[in-house]
C-alpha cells in the first residue's frame, strides 16, 4: 500500500484526531461567518479587492520586490535573498554562528517558511538549541511531531495528551487544567525569550512603500522574539508583499477573520528596522527573503496560488482535511509536506515538484468549499485540476499513434496509484468518441453493476438501482434515447445569459465604540474626564493591585499630570529588572474604534517592553486620538519613523489547547486602557 493511503487510514482510525478535527471545523466555520458580518464592507467586495491587490503584486513582482528590498535596507534591515532552501538555511546558520560558538539559544515564533526550509533540523545539527514559542508549536516540538495545521499546529491533540507531555517533559504536576498548562508554558518560555541569542520569526506581509514588515500573533511570542534577543531574523516568502499601508490594512481586515474569526489579531506588529537611538529592540535585524520555487511557480498555470496569504481558511473549510488532518498529506514516498489542505495540495507539487507530491492534488472532491472561504479568491478547485494535469494548458495536437482503443500510456500510470481505475478511465475516454461502442459499453457496465458493487468498496455502485423505475414506457413519451433523429434547422433562439444566483454574505453594522469592542475582548476601560483624574485613577488602580513600581515610558513621554500623580503616591519607575515588574504603563498614539485596538509605537524613552513583559499593561489614550478603523490608523501613522509599532487588541490570548481560550500566554494577561476626555 502506498504511503499516502497508509497515512490516510491511520488518520481515519485515530479517534482523538477525529474529535479534534470535527471541533476545529465547526468552530472555525462559525467564527469565520461571525467575523465576516463585522467587515466594514461586504465580504465579496472586500475579498475581490484583496484578490486584485495580490494579483497586482504578482504581475509586477520584480519591481515591487526591488523597491521593498531597497526601502528595507534604507531602514537598516540587513536583507538577504535566498534562491532555495539550502541557501536560506546557510544564510541563517551563518548569522547564528556569528553570535558566538554553539550552542546558541534560538527562540522562534511560528513561521511556515522555516518549516518549508527545514530550518530547525539544520540549526540543531549545527549544535544550537531551538525553541518554538507559539504554544501550539511548543507542544508539537516537545512531542517531536510536526504542526498539523498552518494556523493551529496542535489541533490534533487533546488536553490529556498535552497534560501528559507537560508532566513528562516539563516536570509539571499532571493537570488537565488548560490555564495551568498555559501558565507553565509561559514561565518556561519567558526564560527562553530573555536568554535567547537570536529570535527568528516569519513575516505575514512586507510593505514595499515603507520598507517594513508586518507580523501578526495572538500570544505575544511574535513580539517577544522580535523585541528581546539582540539579533532578530525575519524569514519571508518572496511573494508575501503589499504595496502600501492601505493595502496592508485591507489584508489585515481579512487575514485574522479568515484565520481565526477575529476582527484583528491581538498583536499586529509593524517593524521598520533595528532599534533606533534610545529604543529597545534588537541591534541587528536580518530579513531573509526566500524564493524556493516561487518564481518558477509564477511561470506555471498554478501561479494564482501565489496570491495566498496563508490564512488557513481553506483548510478549515475542506471536508477532506476535516477527515484526515494535516499529517496525512504525504508525498509518494511518505515525505511530509509543510502545507496540507487545499492550498497545500496545489503548492506542494507546485513548489517542491510533482515527482514528490503529484499524488496530493487527488485528495479533493472538487466541492469548492475552499474557494468560497478564501479571502483572496485563490481559485483552488481550478488550480487543483491543473495540478493534476501533467502538462496543463499546453497546446495539443493528438499524435497519430493514439487511435488504438486500448492504447495505454505508461508514462502516466507509472507514477500514479490505483492503476486499474486509471486504465478504466483511459478506456472510457477512448470509447467516448465512438458512440455505438460507448452505448454498448454502458449497457455492459449497467449489467455488471450488481457484481461490481459487491467487489468494490465504492458506495456509488451500491446506490444503483434504488428507486429507479425500469421499463418506463418510452412509447409514452415518444422517445428512445438512442434512436431519435433530430432536425437540424436553425432555430433562431436567442442565447440569453442565464441569470445566476448570487449568494450574499450578511451586511452588518459596525463602528461599535472603542470601549465596547475592547471590553468584548476582555480588555478593561478606566474612563477619566481629564488627565488629572486619569492620574488619580491609575494610582488607585495600582494601589488596589498593591503595586509600587511600574515599567513605564520615560516620564517626559507620559502626560505630566500622570507622572505627578505617580510621584505623589510614591510609585517608582522601574529601571533595573524589567522582567520583574508586574505592571507596564505607556501612552498610546491612536485608538481604533472598529477593533478596540491601541497603537503603541516605539521610540526613545518609549520601550516596547513596557507593553509586553508585565502581567498588566496600562495605556493612556486620549479620546480624541481614536480613529474609526485600521485603514485610517495606518494612513495617519508615519510607520517608518518608529522601529516598531505595536497594534494591540486586548490581552494576549491563545486557543492552542483544545481551542480553549486562555488569556496572558506570553504578553499581558490584562490590558487596561485609561480613556481620557
Amino acid at each position: 500500500m502506498d504511503a499516502l493511503r497508509q497515512a490516510v487510514r491511520k488518520a481515519l482510525a485515530d479517534e482523538a484526531l477525529q474529535a479534534a478535527l470535527d471541533a476545529n471545523a465547526e468552530r472555525r466555520r462559525a467564527a469565520r461567518e461571525r467575523a465576516h458580518a463585522t467587515l466594514p464592507e461586504p465580504w465579496e467586495v472586500m475579498r475581490g479587492r484583496a484578490a486584485e491587490v495580490r494579483a497586482d503584486i504578482l504581475a509586477h513582482w520584480d519591481e515591487v520586490l526591488t523597491r521593498f528590498v531597497a526601502r528595507a535596507r534604507a531602514n537598516g534591515f540587513i536583507v538577504h535573498q535566498a534562491a532555495d532552501a539550502a541557501e536560506a538555511r546557510r544564510i541563517i546558520l551563518d548569522i547564528v554562528a556569528a553570535q558566538g560558538p554553539a550552542p546558541r539559544l534560538v527562540a522562534k515564533s511560528k513561521s511556515m517558511v522555516t518549516e518549508e526550509i527545514a530550518l530547525n533540523a539544520a540549526l540543531e545539527a549545527a549544535g544550537h538549541r531551538v525553541v518554538e514559542t507559539d504554544l501550539g508549536e511548543f507542544i508539537v516540538q516537545l512531542r517531536h511531531e510536526r504542526p498539523a495545521h498552518i494556523i493551529t499546529p496542535a489541533v490534533h491533540l487533546r488536553r490529556q495528551e498535552v497534560a501528559q507531555t507537560f508532566h513528562d517533559l516539563l516536570g509539571m504536576p499532571y493537570t488537565e487544567d488548560v490555564a495551568a498548562m498555559t501558565a507553565t508554558a509561559r514561565r518556561h518560555l519567558r526564560e527562553v525569550f530573555l536568554q535567547a541569542d537570536v529570535g527568528i520569526s516569519g513575516v505575514n506581509f512586507g510593505i514595499a512603500d515603507t520598507g517594513g514588515i508586518c507580523i501578526v500573533t495572538n500570544e505575544g511570542n511574535g513580539r517577544m522574539v522580535t523585541t528581546l534577543p539582540r539579533v532578530h531574523i525575519a524569514v519571508m516568502g518572496a511573494e508575501r508583499l503589499v504595496r502600501t499601508p492601505e493595502d496592508l490594512a485591507l489584508m489585515l481586515e481579512l487575514l485574522p477573520r479568515s484565520a481565526t474569526g477575529q476582527d484583528l489579531t491581538v498583536y499586529t506588529t509593524l517593524i521598520h528596522g533595528p532599534r533606533r537611538a534610545g529604543e529597545d529592540g534588537p541591534e541587528e535585524r536580518h530579513l531573509v527573503i526566500v524564493d524556493n520555487g516561487r518564481q518558477r511557480l509564477a511561470q506555471t498555470p498554478l501561479a494564482d496560488a501565489l496570491r495566498c496569504i496563508r490564512c488557513g481558511a481553506c483548510l478549515n473549510a475542506c471536508p477532506v482535511f476535516r477527515e484526515i488532518g494535516g499529517h496525512a498529506y504525504v508525498g509518494r514516498h511518505g515525505e511530509p509536506t509543510p502545507y496540507p489542505g487545499p492550498i497545500g495540495i496545489v503548492i506542494s507539487p507546485g513548489l517542491f515538484g510533482s515527482e514528490k507530491f503529484g499524488n496530493l492534488p487527488y485528495l479533493c472532491t472538487l466541492c469548492g468549499a475552499c474557494a468560497e472561504a478564501c479571502p483572496v479568491e485563490v481559485p483552488l478547485p481550478e488550480l487543483i485540476l491543473r495540478a493534476r494535469a501533467p502538462q496543463p494548458a499546453t497546446r495539443h495536437s493528438p499524435p497519430a499513434t493514439r487511435h488504438s482503443l486500448f492504447a495505454t500510456r505508461h508514462s502516466l500510470f507509472a507514477t500514479r496509484h490505483a492503476p486499474p481505475f486509471r486504465s478504466f478511465l483511459a478506456l472510457y475516454a477512448r470509447l467516448a468518441t465512438r458512440p455505438h461502442l460507448f452505448r454498448r459499453a454502458q449497457r455492459l457496465l449497467a449489467a455488471a453493476t450488481p457484481l461490481l458493487a459487491r467487489l468494490l468498496p465504492i458506495p456509488f455502485l451500491q446506490g444503483v438501482g434504488v428507486s429507479e423505475e425500469t421499463g418506463i414506457a418510452n412509447e409514452e413519451s415518444g422517445i428512445t434515447n438512442e434512436e431519435l433523429g433530430i432536425a437540424n434547422e436553425e432555430s433562431g433562439i436567442a442565447n440569453e445569459e442565464p441569470p445566476f444566483a448570487i449568494r450574499h454574505s450578511q451586511f452588518a453594522t459596525r463602528n461599535s465604540p472603542f470601549a465596547t469592542r475592547l471590553t468584548a475582548l476582555d480588555g478593561e476601560i478606566l474612563p477619566a474626564p481629564d488627565m488629572t483624574t486619569a492620574g488619580e485613577a491609575i494610582v488607585r488602580f495600582l494601589q488596589r493591585e498593591e503595586v509600587t513600581e511600574v515599567l513605564a515610558w520615560a516620564p517626559e513621554h507620559l502626560p505630566a499630570e500622570v507622572t505627578a500623580a505617580l510621584q505623589r503616591a510614591g510609585i517608582a519607575f522601574c529601571h533595573g529588572e524589567p522582567a520583574a515588574c508586574r505592571v507596564g504603563l505607556t501612552g498610546a498614539a491612536l485608538g481604533i474604534a472598529a477593533t478596540g485596538s491601541i497603537v503603541v509605537p516605539s521610540g526613545a524613552g518609549r520601550p516596547q517592553a513596557a507593553s509586553l513583559l508585565p502581567e498588566i499593561h496600562i495605556a493612556v489614550l486620549r479620546r480624541g486620538d481614536i480613529v474609526p478603523d485600521l485603514t485610517t490608523a495606518l494612513r495617519r501613522l508615519d510607520l517608518a519613523a518608529a522601529g516598531m509599532t505595536a497594534i494591540i487588541t486586548g490581552p494576549s490570548r491563545t486557543a492552542d489547547i483544545e481551542m480553549t481560550l486562555t488569556l496572558g500566554v506570553h504578553g499581558p494577561r490584562r490590558v487596561v486602557v485609561v480613556l481620557v476626555g
Binding site: 472538487l366 478547485p381 425500469t470 434547422e489 441569470p499
Partner: protein, 245 residues
C-alpha cells in the same frame, strides 16, 4: 422552444429514469425535447483525473455532436457536467484558436436542468403531486461552481402536498468527487457517513438532488446504513418516472 437534452453518461448508464423524467418535465413545461444521437460523455472524468488530452478529445466529440444538432439550448442533468462545459471547455482549449470559439459558443447555450426550467422557461410549478416528507441535497458543483440553488429549491417548493425539511449542513460535500471516491474510498466513506447521518436526521421519505453522481453515491450510503430515505433526481420527480421502494 426546442432543446437538446444531454442526459449525461452516468444517468444513461445507471439510471435512465432521470433522463426520461427530464424529457417529460421539459415537455410539460412546453419545450420540444431532442436527444442528439452520438452524445457519450462530456469528458469530465478524464479532466478531473488530470488527463487533459483525453478530455479534449471527448470535448471535441461533444462539441461536434451538439453543433450538428442545431443552435438551440443544451440542457444537462448534472451540475458537474454543466460546469465542465460552461467553465472547463474554455480551459481545455485556452491555447487553441480553432476550438476555443466553438467551446465558448457551446458554453453560452448550455444550461443545467433546474436552471433552464426556472430561468429560461419561467416554470416552477408543473402540477406534480408529491405527498411525502422531503429534503434536498445541493450538489457542490451546482451550488458553488454554477451558483444554482434558488432554482431547484423553487421547483421543490412548488411540489404539491410535499413537506419540506431543510437538510442540516446541506452544503457539505457528500464525498463522491468522481475519481476521488475511487481512489480514496475510505475518505469518501467517512464523508458519506456524515451526509447519511444528516439525511437520516431529517426523517425524510425522499432526498432530492439534481446530480446523478451524488445521487447514486448517497443512495449507496443510505442503503448500507439501512436508512429508509430514498434519493431521487428532481427530474424523476417532475417527470414522475420514479418508483417507490
Amino acid at each position: 422552444m426546442k432543446v437538446l437534452l444531454f442526459g449525461t453518461c452516468l444517468a444513461g448508464t445507471f439510471r435512465e429514469s432521470i433522463i426520461q423524467g427530464a424529457v417529460r418535465a421539459l415537455q410539460r413545461a412546453g419545450a420540444e425535447v431532442l436527444i442528439p444521437r452520438g452524445l457519450t460523455c462530456c469528458g469530465q472524468p478524464a479532466f478531473n483525473a488530470g488527463d487533459w488530452e483525453d478530455a479534449r478529445r471527448m470535448a471535441r466529440h461533444t462539441i461536434g455532436v451538439l453543433e450538428a444538432a442545431g443552435d438551440v439550448p443544451v440542457v444537462l442533468l448534472a451540475g458537474s457536467c454543466t460546469a465542465m462545459i460552461r467553465h472547463h471547455y474554455a480551459d481545455l482549449f485556452a491555447d487553441d484558436p480553432a476550438w476555443l470559439p466553438r467551446a465558448r459558443a457551446l458554453a453560452a447555450r448550455t444550461y443545467e436542468f433546474t436552471e433552464f426550467l426556472v430561468d429560461v422557461l419561467g416554470v416552477t410549478d408543473l402540477g406534480v403531486r408529491f405527498p411525502y416528507r422531503i429534503t434536498y441535497h445541493p450538489s457542490c458543483h451546482l451550488l458553488r461552481a454554477l451558483g444554482v440553488d434558488r432554482q431547484p429549491r423553487a421547483l421543490i417548493a412548488a411540489l404539491h402536498g410535499a413537506a419540506f425539511v431543510e437538510l442540516p449542513h446541506a452544503d457539505e460535500c457528500c464525498g463522491f468527487g468522481g475519481v476521488f471516491s475511487a481512489e480514496f474510498p475510505e475518505i469518501a466513506h467517512a464523508m458519506l457517513e456524515r451526509k447519511v447521518a444528516n439525511i437520516a436526521a431529517t426523517q425524510a421519505d425522499y432526498c432530492l438532488t439534481a446530480d446523478p453522481s451524488c445521487l447514486l453515491h448517497i443512495q449507496g450510503g443510505l442503503r448500507r446504513a439501512g436508512v429508509p430515505t430514498r434519493m431521487l433526481h428532481i427530474a424523476e420527480v417532475l417527470g414522475e418516472t420514479w418508483q417507490k421502494g
